[in-house]
């Protein structure tokens, strides 16, 4: 190569770098407000150009979705699959949008005076999506199948195990649930092992949904590719990574759905851009886009919806490991997390600061703040009084997830501790497989994780996570007083008294600080104005039947 040539290449490279920089700054960095303000115009005219065709009722709702992992209700345990299963299948009872128990496949039920036996009366109009009526034999088959170890369900024992004899089926010692009696085609009695007020809630989980015995017998391995359920929507099409279509089942026993078609685009890409271009009608808003949407001058702001979801993020301490076997250390750390500021600056108010353990909407929730207020002074005093005042061992905070960067909120929390208490906490990131295996083995001193409520009852978080011998007690928290109260609440039949016990327990746990409750989850979404009756229930339930799309 000649000298001229080399010089030329170097010159070109320099010019290109500068061009790249300038293009980035001008096109990308240029006035953000103006350009985003014009953004939705790409979508609105397209939508306006298509006036309502046909009857307003028979709309098509277009959403962004992800591939369900499995459509077999007995196996599903992730929210991504549950959203589809909740529409295709149904159970004996349901939750309405206010989280009240309502009849579903069972149109009524009687409870025996000792609160141990439930007699369900099935809805005679209920049919599978192939027209076959739903009978009590189907209920028995579905539950026994879910529990059978050959099905491979991880959750069945948890959700059906309260029925007498169910655990024997789950452990392979029986094939039939002894506490389940078929009285006639439409009447079924179920006996449970203790008078548990939350039993009906557990029947709303997909594991307890009804599946078609005929179909599974005919195609045991791949029946879920075209499942025949009992819910308001049929799976019309599912091409992996591309599209999933649900169509209304018009003979649905609770009345034909108003919304006829739900189309999920599974192919990925930025949902906000697709929404702005009018390709989808509803979208969740990612943290990155929240700033744009929250800006009141942005036209998108009018379509922005925030709704609580029943989940909580927290930091858990291993209460058996130094230095967290001393409650004072835990309390000091709890007092020095500036959650409000982190929510504002780092999380853009996408979540709500937790005021306790029970998320809003769960019975027993109170608006009063039960957590430790941010108070570095008091925290320092507490730390000075603790066992580890002079010899603080090294501390590592484990976080699930594998990204190139640690969650920004976690980094901010660690900085809080450093600033306020001078404690250097290391962050260890582990992808899910490693995280759970180390968490279960009790290898973490301290971990950040979340809990999503499965049913709206305080038992689902307070008892499951804090009862000393619970399998899910990752903090190894052990307080005999709390245990006694939890035990009493399990079978307390007076709802008011029961909730009072749980509120008491919640206060005690927050004081003892095996957790630092951080944030309650929230749904952040955009809904087009022509979509009516679209709701964001805090738990995953069937919810599309009466949605109207007047595009």
């Amino acid at each position: 190569m000649s000298n001229k040539l080399t010089l030329a290449i170097a010159g070109i490279a320099a010019v290109l770098i500068i061009i790249l920089a300038v293009v980035l700054i001008v096109v990308v960095g240029g006035s953000g407000g103006k350009s985003t303000a014009s953004a939705p115009q790409g979508g609105t005219p397209a939508a306006a150009a298509k006036p309502t065709v046909g009857p307003a009722a028979s709309g098509e709702l277009r959403l962004r979705g992800t591939d369900p992992l499995v459509l077999d209700p007995a196996l599903a345990q992730d929210a991504g699959s549950a959203v589809y299963i909740a529409e295709i299948f149904s159970g004996l009872v349901r939750l309405d949008k206010d989280l009240k128990i309502q009849p579903d496949l069972a149109q009524s039920w009687d409870v025996s005076p000792d609160h141990l036996t439930y007699t369900f009366h099935l809805n005679p109009k209920a049919t599978f999506q192939d027209g076959r009526p739903v009978t009590t034999a189907d209920v028995k088959y579905s539950w026994e199948r879910a529990l059978n170890p050959n099905t491979g369900s991880v959750t069945a024992e948890n959700f059906l195990g309260d029925i007498v004899g169910a655990r024997d089926v789950a452990r392979g010692n029986a094939t039939e649930i002894s506490g389940l009696k078929i009285i006639d085609d439409l009447t079924l009695s179920v006996t449970i092992d203790a008078p548990k007020p939350y039993f009906l809630y557990k029947l709303m989980y997909p594991t307890a949904f009804i599946v078609s015995q005929a179909q599974i017998k005919a195609n045991p391995k791949r029946w879920t590719q075209q499942p025949i359920g009992t819910g308001p929507y049929k799976l019309a099409k599912w091409s992996l990574g591309n599209q999933l279509v649900l169509t209304a089942y018009d003979n649905y026993y609770l009345g034909a759905p108003t919304l006829k078609t739900i189309t999920y685009d599974l192919s990925g890409g930025s949902a906000l851009v697709a929404y702005q271009q009018g390709d989808i009608d509803v979208t969740g808003v990612a943290l990155d886009d929240l700033g744009t949407v929250q800006d009141p001058t942005n036209p998108l702001h009018k379509e922005f919806v925030q709704a609580p979801s029943q989940s909580i993020d927290y930091i858990g301490f291993n209460t058996n490991t130094p230095p967290f076997d001393d409650p004072k250390v835990r309390q000091a750390l709890a007092m020095t997390v500036d959650r409000k500021k982190i929510d504002q600056v780092v999380l853009k108010n996408s979540v709500a600061v937790a005021n306790g353990i029970l998320p809003p909407g769960v019975p027993g929730y109170t608006p009063a703040d039960k957590t430790y207020p941010y108070d570095p002074q008091k925290a320092k005093q507490l730390l000075a009084q603790s066992k580890y005042a002079n010899k603080m061992p090294s501390i590592t905070l484990a976080e699930s997830g594998a990204g190139a960067s640690v969650d920004n909120a976690t980094q901010a929390i660690v900085q809080n501790w450093k600033d306020a208490l001078g404690i250097d906490v290391k962050i260890q990131q582990a992808e899910d497989a490693t995280f759970f295996s180390d968490l279960d083995a009790g290898r973490y001193q301290m971990f950040e994780i979340g809990w999503i409520m499965d049913y709206p009852d305080p038992e689902d978080v307070l008892d499951i996570l804090f009862y000393s011998t619970s399998k899910q007690n990752s903090t190894l928290y052990n307080n005999p007083q709390v245990d006694a109260k939890l035990l009493a609440a399990r079978t307390e039949q007076d709802p008011q008294k029961r909730l009072a016990i749980y509120q008491d327990v919640e206060k005690q746990i927050v004081q003892d600080a095996p957790w630092i409750p951080l944030f309650f989850g929230q749904t952040n979404a955009l809904v087009k104005p022509y979509v009516k009756n679209y709701t964001f229930p805090p738990l995953i339930i069937e919810r599309f039947r009466d949605v109207q799309v007047n595009r």
Binding site: S2, L5, A8, I9, I12, A13, L24, V27, V28, S35, A39, G42, L69, V70, L71, D72, Q77, P149, N150, G152, S153, V154, T155, A156, E157, N158, A170, R171, G172, R222, T224, Q225, S239, L240, G241, N242, L266, S267, G268, G269, S270, V273, A274, Q276, Q277, A402, E431, D432, A433, T434, F435, F436, S437, D440, I449, G450, W451, K471, Q472, S474
Partner: protein, 318 residues
Amino acid sequence: MDGLAGYILRRLLFLPVTLLVVSFATFYITRWGPGDPVRVYSGQYNDPEAFARVRHKYGLDKPIIEQYGIYVKDLLLHGDFGESFKYRDRSIPGIIGPKIWVSVRLGLYAFILTFLIGIPAGIFAAVKQGSWLDPLIIGVFLFFQSIPVLVMVPVMVIIFAARLQWLPAGGFHGLFSTTMIIPTIALSLGGIAGVARLARATTLGTLGEDFVRTARAKGLPELTVISRHIARNSVVPVMTTVIGLSLVGLLEGALFTETLLGIPGIGAFVFDSVKGRDYNVILAIVLIVTTAFVLANLVVDLALIVIDPRVRSQRPGA
């Protein structure tokens, strides 16, 4: 050519050995690691007894060697790749087939674009040797080659999708949709420089050949000389050499491109499967890709053997 046939045969016979070693290593590494699919996909539930039952159902409680034996037996006798622990509604070919197909189509586009730009650019640069156009062309593509896909893709998304709204911001809606544009450009930019330089080198060699001189002497127009004689003699060797090599690069570029743009291809999927410890899916992908690599490498080696003496001897001195 007898020696060549023997060489091909030997390479092909070695393929099963490669697959056996690779499959065992992958099998062992995945199952050796902390965590397992049963635990990962149960998320916030922790019920060790239930986990043990499910593990038993899938034979995950057996020694790894025994599990491997069962796997090989099922694969060879029944063509059964096992079941995915994540997507349990479909067979493994049913899960990865469509994803491979997406990536293949994407790769095909990138290939075509690479050659469509690279070869003419290389020939043009060679013909213009000595002028400022030669280093400009090669320099520009070399520069683009130096920008990682990781940087290229987000920048393009912001400019063309979010700001200008010309293109969709990701996803995949078939071969003839605009969703193909950003990933195709991102995937091909890295390869264009290589193709262009190879085409330039080959062309420079061809330029001195007798038939080109003859054609010129005959007074044929320059464009005809280039398209008829030079191009034909440059394109073929460049194509064969680069195709195999690019296959490797494409799969790796695809991992980032697909992850960033949310394209449901095999590149993004393999990463998800590793994170979720979806043993059988990881293994199936590794086996398929390894086979493809071995065959592609064989083709490249053969191409090099056939072309090499010519290409090498004609390589320009400077």
